[in-house]
Subunit: 147 residues, 10 copies
């Protein structure tokens, strides 16, 4: 057994039980973004969170233990994702990547926007011409320091 | 001459003149995100915008004309970007990609978040533990329709 | 169980029962292109459509539920397809890609032809020198807008 | 000098002269799809066609001669194209590739749709919700024969 | 079950029974090249041919049905083949590819040598310094036509 | 200067002078296949052959010397060739590769068909349904020997 | 002109003048590791540092300005480095990567060792059996936090 | 059974028993870095070490024997690692690779830092602004010698 | 069952029985290099050799038959090998490849060193500063001949 | 100027002067293998050796200085070499790689054969059936040590 087996079991259980990530996140008491990432094998749960999830998805004790082990991260099967929804994000990085780099450096100097001290919030933005997906990303700026 | 030559000339001129993208965008009268992307060879300017930029960067008439031709897009030299700042965005897609997919589908059904009918806003978010980069993405949801 | 298992079961059932995609599509009441794509794991069915397919292919309730979950899309095992029929399409993109780009931009300006708000119709075109495959593609033009 | 040099000269001349592919094609007397592909270095012109193009783009005699040499084809710089407009076509092959294969085989048996004995027609399709790009592809069916 | 399972079963049966492709082809009544390609999962058999092969390899009815389904073609596990015998062919394409292109174009003009309307004949060519493998390839020339 | 420069000069001279490979080969006194491969930078000429070619293409003494240096071989810019004519050969290796392997081993045992002690002959094969390209390959069989 | 041109000029100047990185770093007043990385185009200098380097390498004012622009980082020409010295580091990541991951997680929990808030010190470690290279890496631990 | 099976069993046993690599290493009597690497299938244990590990993880005699067989090394599933913690090390090689090369050559001349006669020590470095990961690498310098 | 299954069984049996390749080769009566390559699925055994190996490794009759079938060769899981011992050989080809090419051509002219009519002998070379691995390779020179 | 420019100049000079590597090596006073590798940009010369080579190839003082700078090594343009002579070596690593690994480990235990403390000797081996290339490789065995 490994973390991947647990992820697959969670996904299958969710399909079978007709659950929503939003409700699962509420049960865990954290954001839907972080909890979903964890259920998909990208984050590490603590004992209490794992117990809650074990209850929801009927996980065994061993499976619950795997949820508390830091996983090997990366949720995509290919370097360039083939799924259209995920590809659009890859395209944003491809088309706007140099722009994002220029503007963050202009404001902050040399450094990066952290993908670790980071949060993400996905919301529906109602719009007359068709609703929009609004995503708010927040990552700490980490400067390169000379030494 | 091609668009890439014009992009390189603009970048070199900006370094030599010590300009800021924010001020260039103000002169054009649009967001810093879109104008920077355009100057980096990813968007198409109209005649008036191209004239403004030609004035700022001392472009020839031919160079200004290239700014009005739709470019071959994609601003990164490798499929997996090596620059640390841009890589962090690739990592967000890698680690959170399946999560983004799940949550958008949960809210909207099958479809994608457009990377064309799309805007991006990058801001400094002051924070006691170190300022953060805040990025707001907004893309129209486009549903797959059966036919 | 995952969507891929259901796709493989459907394909095997179709071979064993000697069915035609056209007849399956008629039973579902939609185009043969969309229904086949869905049966091959690329589209999402609603409950009624899934029930119809479950009847045709003797799917279990759980399998029918997977047909209603948005799949991870992309139906080819390699970035450059090896199958001769599919490769010819890749070659069309390779040889005519820059032409398609030029002509759509000439007519519509900067933007894309949507692959989401999109339909496809494949027909036999009788011809004295050998029948032809005629494919009509229709995708909404989505303009890049400045902001 | 090689064909690529001639292609780059033609593109630059077109930008500088503000020409349209449609008009260039009319001057040559063939479809805009085939003529554009030829000007972009994918097709071979005969002497008369090359002379017409040499007139339009002020090509030298040597450059006109290169237009009559069969080029090394393939117009994209990477196996998976990064330009959003061209990528959407790659995505269509990725998502619908197995569907296209199934439906052509169902109608015609084992074989391919030719990309050589092939034509393409790109048109604007007016639509209340936003105009669409309509593309009609026609390729001869070539059967695999046993021997 | 899929075509690949049937291919593996055929290969294993051939090893166990000590059969020769030449004899199998004679039983089917076609060339050893086409029949072997079909048994290796690259061609589509008709009902009579499939029945003959089912008899030889003790295939079930379902397995025989798979032989009549058009397979996803491409028989090599990597883009550049590692097996020395097959690599030599890849090397011929690599070293002589531009030569083949030049000479066919010189003789026929722009177009291709079909790999569909195609046959292959492999023979032993006795030679004093060591026997040779002689391969005769015949493919219809398909011209690019302007339109 | 390197061999590649000489190859490019030869190709450009051939285009400008309107020569045919067949006539060049006759002047050299060898097959059109080998001479073309050599002119395209894949084979090594001796002093007399180089002198003949220097005469035809107006090569300098230094350029003629490069024709006598063994080149770094491989005439294709990508591992999977994009040019349709050359790709068809790659496809033949992909689709028929395992078949070729099986049939040569069946006839000769373990070993390879040499791509070095090798010759190729390309001919037009007149045919009522359209002329065909006929290619005869002959390579010495080299057995693996135990030791 | 771009940063890469400046990097190449610095390297050539260093070879011609017979300088040592250690002395260059002393002139700048920082570690040899950081200064060398900066000279090789990976870090951003401030005005005073750039002036010092301009003096050492006879850089123009424009070149000195490029040293103060944040560069596109990544100093290796291929994803898997071919140079034996650098490959050994890649091999350490390959062989010990999972070990490093396990031990950092065991000590710190889920998170990463920063490559931004990071320093490196390379020293000679005298040893009877042959001197050793000793490298001390220090990177801040950044925890993943739930939200 | 192969070494990989044993590695997976060890990892699963460690998760189930809630063990720490540090304690396992103490039981074996060697550093936590080397023992962890060995347990993850990268190093070769002797009979006594294998017996100790067999006791800890309840391995069968056959499994213990596999621990004493030299493994095929390399612990990462992709050439560019996707896991953020391991990627940071890849990034260090990418950004600092040329710097490391320059400084080791400056001190030692042409040669490499061995990844075989090599040791690694990972420690927590307490720090007011957040603890740091400190890694000490020591590899014998191996000079290229002329011959 | 396929050849790979037999290879894995042989390796596992060797580990379990504690055999040495050298002794296995002696039993077969050939060099340790060729016999090991054969046992690892790269060479083809005759009936007598297969019988000997079947006796040593307790192979079934079917498994012994697979040893007599020419295998699909290539023993490495990735194009650039990750295992340090095998990588060193890849590095030798990378660093010395152009040197080997120059020196063989200088001595023999255009052609190759055969990897088929080839043998290899690996020996321990005692040395005061640490024993060395000595490998003697012998491959027939095959000249390119004009035709 | 960089090392690559010097390498290209040396190769061109050698072609123009009709020199042999063996004679160049004699002038330098070292093996033809090491000197050729150095001239091809893979090894580092000392001042005296560089002076000798500068005399032979009419190098400038600056060019001679580059010969004394440690180069970025790796002499092949692609990961899998396309040149037939070099490919055969790659094939040897591919086909015999696992065998070499097994036999070195059987004789020496876990460790590698050094590619740094390494020498190579290439000789003609006269043979009645055609002369052979004999290559003697000698690399120090470096054991993995526990710590």
């Amino acid at each position: 057994m490994n973390r991947n087996d647990v992820t697959e079991k969670i996904i299958a259980a969710k399909v079978n039980q007709g659950l929503k990530w939003e409700d699962i996140a509420k049960a865990v008491g954290l954001s839907k973004e972080w909890v979903t990432a964890g259920c998909l094998g990208q984050m590490t749960f603590n004992a209490a969170q794992a117990a809650t999830l074990a209850g929801i998805f009927s996980l065994t004790e061993e499976e619950a233990r795997w949820l508390q082990v830091v996983p090997y991260k990366g949720s995509l099967p290919t370097a360039v994702p083939t799924d259209p929804l995920i590809y659009r994000w890859y395209e944003i990085v491809s088309v706007y990547g140099s722009t994002i780099k220029e503007l963050i450096h202009e404001e902050f100097g040399d450094g990066i926007m952290s993908a670790i001290d980071f949060s993400m919030d996905i919301q529906r933005e109602p719009h007359a011409n068709g609703d929009r997906v609004q995503v708010l990303l927040s990552g700490k700026f980490l400067p390169y320091k000379s030494y």
